[in-house]
Amino acid sequence: MNRITSYLRPGMALPLRLIGSVLVVVGALLPWATFVLNRGAYPAKSTLQYFDLPFAVTGFRLHVLLLGLAALVVTFAPVPGRGRILRGLGWGAVLVSAVNVLFIAYYGGGLGAVTVSEIPAFGGIVGLLGGLAVVAGAHAGGIEEPVHLPTGLPRPAAWAVLLVSYAGLLMMVAWTLTAGGQGGVANPYAGAQFLSFLGFAGGLLAALQGAGVLPWIGRLSEDHRPFSIVVLLGCALALPFTGAGTDYWMTVAANIGIYAATAIGLNVVVGLAGMLDIGYVAFLGIGAFVAANLSGAVAAKVDITLPFPVAAVIAAVVAGMFGSIVGSPTLRVRGDYLAIVTLAFGEIFVRTAQNNIGGLTGGPNAIPGVPPVTIAGTGFNEPITIGGTKLPSGVLYYFMIVLLVGLVMGIFANLKNSRIGRAWIAIREDEDVAKAMGISTGRIKILAFMVGASTAGLSGAVFAHKLGTVSYESFKFLESVTLISAVILGGMGTIPGAVLGASLLFVLPEKLREFSDYRLLLFGLALVLIMRFRPQGLVPDKHRRAELAGEDFEGRPLEESVTEQAHLPPAGAVLPGEARA
């Protein structure tokens, strides 16, 4: 990358940016496919249109058009962080174009589908080149320091901004879920449309980040924390009322929620306390089997039926007890050896569950027929009507899981900043020093395992009731790997990271059905690539970022900030911090 950008001169910036944005706009208006693909028109029948309907482009061509127009405006508007914004927009255009060109070529049987055949169709290639030119122009003009927008807004203004931002976030989530529709035979292009949308959304978000808007909103929500939490929760609960409110997406969203809560629990062990647990999914399994056995399922060994909240609490407690057993070797074992111990425990769980130990797990037959949770006679799996709006079935589970995830997030956000949380981080950074500081490391480490395990146990109870069937197959080693991937992709030690990671890892396979075989292959590859190129994950933790990526809190390389400190102001000068004090 640096080798390429070194050829760029500042003088090329304006021409490259201008030509690039114009090319992107033109590309959006040109046809993209040379013939109607054999499984129906490629997304939204928009690909064969020429200039006859120049402003009626839809679907991904609309996305490309918007990106191009935005780049054109930013090229001439004197906004701060221009290079960063253009870089984001340019990459967005490149991604959208590349995804669609690749898919059209793939479905159309070769490059002919995107070049010349029945009609010439260079839209994709023009868009791709334009996007690259915008990126090059952004680099030629130099990438500025990150923009820092001031946050001292009056409360009503700040609240309004936050409301709008979170509403935007809700729309974004709903669009992302519905983009391309449900995958499968009926809609062969779902994967392409979804990836294309991700490219568009990624480009926009990168541009907003470059303009300093996203960090600004982040700081605003930090300043108005209680308000943000309420609004965010409200937005999550409002999701069923958007376009994503179908049976299918409620099921997917509920499953994501279960795994997100589990991933947050894992994040305590791996991210905060720095102990790699690669048999963690066993606790989800223990919780699920306990809840299944206590809920009057047909094949359950225990013949009692407890109300769901009681069963869930018992599941969490039992899983927590197993957590302390699995965690007890931490008193003597550290680092990679500990990881192997957890793997061994996980495997023992799977083997014993497979062998139907004590008749508790059903073995290969699983435990079917776990009854759904009911409240006032309404099963959580039934559709309901609120104020004239008919909501899809499973929506009550969705609400419950949103509240569960919210609760777990709240607990862990507080725990992270508590004495215990700091002790975990201290142990992660240096166990011997932590001990010397008076932390009783053994107890605190076992506590991490217990807390993580009971979170998984609680999720497991929901899992059992939601799915209705509990089988050891759901708790195999590869599920642990998936959870670890979620935590690492999202960013170790950060709570939003775990949720984001879990969402991505469970939405992507739903969307990319045609690649579902490659799911694990890509997970494995992703683990390798993330550890190599972005070990701090998508949402980096402040400390982690400094440690793993050599960057300071603001995302600048550490060496730079060290040299900045070396340029201390002359004696007698007033430091900005002192002026305020």
């Binding site: 003597r332 192997i340 495997e347």
Partner: protein, 309 residues
């Protein structure tokens, strides 16, 4: 009585396979303190490499001649395993040489899943177990034991002989040769070794190559005696091998081999005599693994015996 001796024989054969894999684990750990979780997958890839050589490279007319098929398949398995191991070291582990310790382990996890899935998806019909040709003379060695006799098929005898011979050869190479000395020096202190004119990267690659070659041989022999291979075989046997390496004191070549035989015996005898039978034989090995890691992480033979690779 015959059953006992039969199970002991089975345990020794399994131990020989595990030993070939465990040597790679222990050498890599000895040099760069990395649990190369993907090493079991190298073993699996080696088995598929051997099968591919037999199926597509060897002329059909030669299939009856074990003198050709067995060495050729082993060579094919070794080549594939070594290529995979070298690529894995170069592109996954080397960039993380100075990263925090959990990073390479997570990478190893990723490599392991990746290799397993890659073979499952791209090797023809690898989604279910593949039959593996017998490749060796039929019949078996008849061993008289109290109360009867135990028949040990010749392929299993060959397996044990080859495994022990390779382990002895490796031990001699590490102890006597110039590169072996470089390996031991790098294991003791990489920086000092560098000052002595040793290129640690070369030594590390060599370690991966040696480990992969042994695993490749092991994979092919495992296929030849089990007559079937599947993509899960690497994960299972990799865990066994890791347990063996830890049991013998990780970093020790002799310990790894002895540990492997112990694990082989635990699996077969545990499956025969412990409650739960063969359904629980894996569980016993994991229990042993946990107990050793917790109570005797330096291995059964202690620090003093430890000859680092």
């Amino acid at each position: 009585m015959t059953t006992l001796f039969q199970q002991i024989a089975n345990g020794v054969v399994l131990g020989a396979v595990i030993g070939l894999v465990a040597l790679g684990y222990t050498m890599v750990y000895g040099i760069i303190q990395l649990i190369n979780f993907a090493h079991g997958e190298v073993f699996m890839v080696g088995a598929y490499g051997g099968l591919a050589t037999y199926t597509w490279i060897l002329p059909r007319g030669m299939r009856g001649h074990w003198q050709i098929t067995l060495p050729a398949s082993m060579l094919g398995g070794v080549v594939v395993a070594v290529i995979v191991a070298v690529l894995m070291e170069r592109f996954a582990y080397r960039p993380l040489r100075n990263a925090p310790r959990l990073a390479p382990l997570i990478t190893a996890l990723g490599v392991s899943v990746f290799l397993q899935e890659a073979v499952r998806l791209f090797y023809p019909d690898a989604k279910s177990a593949r039959p593996f040709p017998a490749m060796f003379v039929g019949g078996g060695m008849q061993l008289p034991v109290p109360g009867g006799q135990v028949v040990l098929p010749w392929i299993r005898v060959a397996l044990v002989v080859i495994a022990v011979a390779l382990a002895v050869a490796l031990q001699m190479y590490v102890n006597r040769s110039r590169m072996g000395r470089a390996m031991r020096a790098t294991a003791q202190d990489r920086d000092t070794a560098r000052l002595m004119g040793i290129d640690p990267d070369r030594v590390i690659v060599l370690t991966f190559i040696l480990g992969a070659a042994l695993a490749g041989v092991g994979g092919v022999l495992y296929g030849a005696y089990q007559n079937t291979i599947n993509v899960d075989m690497g994960f299972q046997n990799g865990i066994f091998a890791f347990t063996a390496a830890v049991l013998g004191g990780i970093g020790s070549l002799r310990g790894a081999v002895i540990g492997a035989f112990v694990i082989g015996l635990i699996k077969t005898l545990g499956g025969q005599y412990l409650p739960g039978g063969t359904q629980y034989d894996y569980v016993w090995i994991f229990v042993v693994l946990i107990l050793v890691l917790v109570f005797r992480p330096e291995g059964l033979f202690g620090e003093a015996e430890k000859v680092r690779a």
